[in-house]
Structure formats: C-alpha cells, structure tokens
Symmetry: C2
Subunit: 466 residues, 2 copies
C-alpha cells in the first residue's frame, strides 16, 4: 500500500461500541519515519468502527503502532510507502518569511479567499453549485463553519441530536463529519484551502455550542482535529467574531487555541477572527501570541495593512466588507468599493478575502450558503490575482523593489502622481486599470523622485519594472 | 437723497493728506434713526479724500453727524431717507434658529458656497469669466482672500508696496480696496455672499502679513471693516487654516475675532477655519466662544455634522475636499465622492461648500483663481439645492419631520432600507437619484418602522412627505 506525500493514510479497526466510545475509548497511533515519530489521535466513527488519519510529509517507508485503552485497538502494527506527490499536490500551506505564505514544496500561495459560512449545510444541489462556482472563481481559500447558527434546523449536526435543548454535546455524529470531510476533500481537489471556523457567536445559547463546558470544548476540538487535521488544506479559525461571544473570555480563547496547537500534529495555520465594532474601534486578538500563525482580521480599510505588518505574521483581512445589496453596512458594497479595498490591502503586502451578499437573487447570499456568484468583483479579483502572481519577489515573499514597484492609486482621480522610486536604472511603467482590466504601457521611463502623468480616472495602479 | 434698506450710504469729505492719514486721522460717524444710534468708522481713501459707509437697517429718516481728530472732517451733519428694499434685496444673512441661516427679511438662506481664494487678483478677463461662471452656478457664497500668498507677485496689495520686504503695513492701497470692493459688489448683484478671509498661513513670512505686530493687525482689521462692513453680503472669516500659522496662538485669534466683533457695527457673520491634519485629527477652533456666529469647518466627512450640531451654531463645512485631478489628496475627488459628501452633510442639517481643482485645463484651478468650472458636481449640487429648498421647515429651520423626512442612503447599494418613521399618517416616498438627477415616486406609502425596497444603486436618497 502506498500514499502520496501530503496525502492521507487512514487506518480502520473494530472496537467497543457500548457506553460513549467518544469519551471512553482512547486511540493513538505513533507513525515513524527513520528516527522521526509523529503521534496522532484516532477517532470513533460509529458502529464500532475506529479510524486514524495521518498525513506523511516525507517520501519513504513509514511504520506505525497503535495504543489504546481498548484491547481490540491496542498494539496494531504496520507500514506503508510514502511516494512523491502527484500533479497539483504542493503540500500544505505554511507561513513564508514574515508576511507571506507558501506551500510545503515552496510554491507561492497568494491568499485570496472567500467566505461561504454554511455551504455544507445546504441541499446537495446547492453544494454542487457552490463547487462549480468555486471552480471558475479566483479564490484559493473558503472560510466555513462547523457549527450551525441559532436559526438553522439542519438534519445533521456535529453532535448527536437535532432539536435545540436536546443535543448531546459529548457525542458526535459521524455521518455529519463524513459529509463535511468529503466537502473538505472536494475543496482540496479544487486546490482550495478550507479555513474551518470552529466556533462562532451566532448561537446565542439556542444550541448552546457557544457556551459549552471547558471539558466539552476540549473533547470537541480533539475530535475535530483527529478527524480533519490530516487533510492538507485545513486551516483552523478558532472563532468567527470571537468578541461577540460574551460567554467566553480572552483567556478561554487562549486555552482553546493552545489545545488545538497541542492536538494538531501538523501545526496547521491557526488564527482567530475579530468582530468588534467594525466601523468604530478595531480591537483584534493579540496576534503576537505564539499559538497564532497569521492575523485574521475583520476591518474595512485595506490601508491599515501597513500598520498591522509591524506584527511579523501574515495579514489576512478575511472580512473587508462584502459586495452586494444587503440592508446591513457590511453587505452592500459596490464592486468598485470592494475591489478598491482589495487593491489597497494587497499592494501593501497583505491578503484580502472576498464575500458576496446579494439578498434577492435565485440563490441566497453567497457568504451564508454559497450557490451562485452574482457580483462584478470576482472577475476583477482574478485580474488582481494575476497581477500579484506576476511580481518578482524577494526570498521573504515581499515584492523586490529593485525589480518592480506596484503602486495602487486609489479612488481619486489625480492627473499625475509623484513617486519616490529607488535610484538607479529607470523603471518602465504600465498603467493598470483595475476596473477596465487593462494594462497600458507608458512611453517614458522613470527613476528617483518623479512625477508620472495619469489618465485622471479612479481605481488605477502603476507597475514599474526594470 | 435716498438709500434703500440694507443698501450703502456713503459720505465723502476732503481732509488732511500729509503724514500717514491712515494712522493719524480718526473719523467716526454717528447715524441716528429715532432713538437708535449706530456709529461707524470712516476711512482714508487716498488723495486727501475721506469716506464713511453705512448700511441702514430701518426704513425712514436717518440723521448723521461726524466726529474727527481733523477739523475739516469734524461736525458734518446731514440726513437721508431709507426706502424699502428693491427686488432681490433680502438684507444681510444672519443665523436663524440654532443651526440655520436666513436673510434679514426672513427669506431662508441655504448656505451652499464655493471657494475662489484669489480670483480678484487675476486678470480682468478671468475675473469676468469667474463672475459669468458664478452666474450660472448653484453657489450662494464665495470664500475669497484679501491677502496674497507667498508665491504671488500682484500689481497691487492691500498695503502700500509690491516687493516682498518693502511693503509698508501701516499704509493701505485705496486702489486695491476700490477694486476689491467692486468685486464684492459684483457678487452682491449676483445674490452671492462674500466670505472674506482676512488672514491665511500661505505667506510664510515672504510678505510678513502672517506675522504683523498686534497694533498692525488691529489697524488693518479696523480699516478693512470700515471699508467693507457696509456691504450686506460680507462675512468675516478671520483666517483660513489658522492652525497652520505658527506665528499666532489661539489667544491671538481670540483677540482678532473680538476686534472685528467690536469694529463691525452690523455684526456680520464671523468664524475661523481650521486646517489641522484634515485626514487624521480634527481640532477646530472652539466654536462655542461668543464671538463666533457659525462653525466654519474643514473636514472630509459629512457624516460628522450630526456630532458638531451639539454646538448650537450652524455647521458649514467650507472645505470637504475638492472635485478635480490635483496631485494632493484634497484636490482630486471624483464628482461622485464630492457630491456624496454634500448629501451626507446637508441631509444631517449642515451646510457644505464646493471647490474644484482641475490642474490641467485652460484656466487654472477654480479654488485658486476662479475662471471656468469643469467638473460634474455643480449640476448635481444645483439639484441638491432644489431638493433642500423644497423641504417643509420648522420655525427653527430644521426639516419638519411631521411633514417630511429626507434620508440620504450613501455610497452603498442596498436593495432595501429600514426606516424608523414617526408614527401616524403614512408618508408618500420618492427615490431621489443624486447622480441621474431623477425623482421617482414609490407605489406604496409607509409609516412607523418599515422596510422600503430600493433599486440597489449607490447615491440615492429617500424623501417621504405627508
């Protein structure tokens, strides 16, 4: 049996099904490659079936041995061959330099995600439509929730039971997870990261998932990590708008983040997302804490990226406002305004995520359910992605100013702009129209302090190369 | 001899021309209407000629008597008949209620001004062009400077001399003032207020007008008020961007404002205009001081009007940014953004001023020199003015919510909006498109808390009437 590098090796055993196997039975598997040992948690998958999943990160022979509180599951041994990755498999994404990302094989990852919070809870039809939409969209990450909101009444939950007040938070629904994992795998096959939102404040005690006991939170996280961490496209977002949950303190979030850090053998990307007073005060989580890998920000102003980069972790504005026609401020940006914010944030060395919230179309708002995209921004974001991908980079991932400068000029309409370029050979310039999606060379080259004439339209960028 | 109400009565006498008559000779004229006495300063107009100007505010017989340090000017007596105002003469503008303006005859004044700082310094041709532009523009006030900037080398100054370093700030150039006054009178004949900027920080010591001695400032202000206060369209703006002048303290500005308050027999509208860090911190002058009649604000955000109205004086955002294509942030707004800011400020019960800064057209930037208007905003501002003029008002000048509500919906594109309307009879609504300049009735009426469908475009307003 062989598994490709960064693929999933899965073990299956039969074991006890009496009592609460989720809580009563422990299963651990130690994987060994030469002198390197990685230990993973197994998990109960219902009907007396236990599984363990593992992502090998080295090509060659791996051996394993199980240990368990149940005799039937203890002491199983075996081995498999890890073979080189297939086409399109670049491994998991990790942090590169201070402010960027790369796949494990060194390929640059330009984090331009989108959000479909509960797309896996929708009808099969809508889920397939979402995947079809994502296939032709420019997004490489999807933010998505495990837990339902207060208003949803889904057929299956991560926990056992479907009636508010009657859910057993100490037992999990394997069928829910098998489905959820298949959607994570679908995203993987599209080359899309699954930024899994583990908690959120939109429960308000209806399900009680926002106010479980510390031991329940811990067991839930352990189970989720055991099932999902082996998928190389998984990221952990401990909570959406964590500060809107009044049942938990910063110390609680610190603890939960550290639990995921401890459970996860692969150290998948890990952050937490603020919500506070988006249009007034910005009080994010302290991203300098060691268990945070990147800054997952909600803020409307892409220009703030420059300040946030003083923390040496990638800046990802996962919510910058959504294109759409919702009644709420966060959900009725024009495409012009939305893409303007993208260009601001991305050209300053940050990453920006998309969302769409048209509330009166055939499928409901993309940010909630997925479905179909109606906005004008995805095409413009695809263009932005191409421009960003074509920039020469330093080894730390920042744009190399000796070879290229990229200035986004914003929503004003100056007839010229003064730039302070590095001295030396002149740069050849192009005017990038971020709305018309055109790139037009300028006749003159420039270096040092210079004034460059412009067509006096809003939403332009200047790219200079030498 | 007769003068119409709120017109100008002028007296002319011959007197001493030796020494420095501006400083050496005092001339005062006491005007009496029944038991009411108004005393004005006269002024030296060169070549041994002295004048005094007076604006009568009551219809009927006025008597006067002069007093002077010079025998030739002392003890002259006379009278004139003040007759009812002619067509279009509504008197001077004053504060109405806490936050609005009205002419002396009770006609509402909707303060929508523009800025042409140095238009009176330009060639005769350009000045005539400016007046022609203003004739067909929707503006009822012009901000304009008495003093030149550091870079200008005009043929005439308010003071004697035209070479930096060789100007006598204790003597004035009557020819300069006669010309300047004729332009103030030209504005008056167009029904436009002249918001006279008495000092500004764009001198940087080149002329030294930004750092005159206290006695020189006082004499200058006294002379300016003596010459100009009688024109009923005059307002006093003590300084533009006063906080950029490091030679003067707040105490200095307090004193200068109080001097104008003391010299001006008509108590013309009086304010001072901030400049500090327009895009960062807003630190205006304390407009609650008793010598301030209205808030003359520089700020880019019309939405702040709501907060500033906590000070019970009219809010006039004289600089909110300019439509144009200048290189500087303040001067390259699109028409969309500029007019958006107007609607924000005006619908919140403030007033907003226009400016235009196209730097590459036949005439230079309107805000500096006047000339021709190139932007798209004046037409939209004319439409806004019409809408504002048609609103039913309470006696304090605010819109009467029992008869009409006006909500500007901003630069977003919601497909509906929730309004909290006063209970009672329903309002008939119209959608106002502030860009297309259309007003479209909605089929349904609304009252109380309601959700109103919208065409999901930016820059709309809703007007409800009952």
């Amino acid at each position: 049996m062989s598994v490709e590098q960064w693929g999933v090796h899965e073990l299956t055993y039969s074991g006890p099904s009496d009592g609460n196997p989720f809580a009563d039975v422990s299963l651990r598997v130690a994987y060994r490659y030469r002198n390197r040992v990685v230990t993973v948690d197994g998990f109960y998958d219902g009907d007396g079936v236990y599984r363990a999943r593992f992502m090998p990160d080295r090509v060659g022979r791996w051996e394993y041995v199980t240990s368990s509180s149940a005799v039937e599951l203890d002491g199983h041994r075996g081995s498999f061959e890890c073979v080189p990755p297939g086409p399109g498999n670049h491994g998991p994404v990790g942090v590169h330099g201070a402010h960027h990302f790369a796949y494990a094989d060194g390929t640059r990852y330009d984090c331009i995600g989108t959000t479909c919070y509960h797309w896996t809870y929708e009808s099969k039809e809508i889920q397939e439509l979402t995947l079809a939409s994502l296939r032709s969209a420019p997004f490489d990450k999807v933010r998505m929730c495990l837990l339902p909101t207060e208003g949803m009444r889904p057929e299956r939950l991560p926990f056992v039971g479907t009636t508010p007040g009657e859910v057993d938070v100490e037992a999990y629904d394997p069928a829910f997870f098998r489905h959820f994992e298949s959607r994570v795998a679908d995203l993987l096959s599209l080359g899309i990261q699954a930024d899994l939102i583990l908690f959120h404040p939109y429960d308000r005690g209806v399900w009680g998932f926002d106010r479980m006991k510390p031991a329940e939170d811990e067991a839930f996280l352990r189970y989720v990590v055991a099932r999902l961490a082996a998928y190389r496209n998984v990221w952990w977002s401990l909570s959406n708008e964590y500060d809107f949950n009044r049942e938990k303190t910063i110390a609680d979030w610190d603890r939960l983040l550290q639990l995921v850090q401890r459970f996860d053998p692969y150290q998948r990307l890990r952050s937490i997302h603020n919500g506070t007073k988006m249009y007034e005060v910005f009080t994010p989580y302290d991203f300098s804490k060691p268990w945070i890998t990147h800054q997952s920000v909600q803020h409307w102003d892409g220009a703030e990226v420059a300040a946030w980069r003083s923390c040496p972790k990638p800046v990802v504005i996962d919510e910058i406002g959504y294109e759409g026609n919702a009644g709420r401020r966060w959900g009725n940006l024009t495409a012009d305004e939305m893409v303007h914010r993208f260009w601001q944030g991305m050209t300053l060395g940050g990453y920006v995520g998309h969302g769409e919230s048209f509330v009166d179309r055939e499928t409901r708002a993309w940010i909630s359910v997925g479905g179909r995209l109606y906005g004008e921004s995805p095409e413009r974001i695809a263009f932005l992605r191409e421009v960003m991908a074509g920039l020469p980079r330093l080894s730390d991932g920042d744009v190399d100013p000796d070879r290229c400068v990229l200035h986004y000029l914003g929503d004003r309409q100056p007839s010229s702009v003064e730039l302070d370029l590095p001295d030396g050979p002149p740069y050849r310039f192009e005017v990038i129209d971020t709305v018309a999606l055109t790139i037009t060379p300028l006749p003159t080259s420039y270096t040092g302090t210079c004034r460059i004439p412009l067509p006096a339209r809003p939403y332009l960028a200047l790219r200079g190369t030498r």
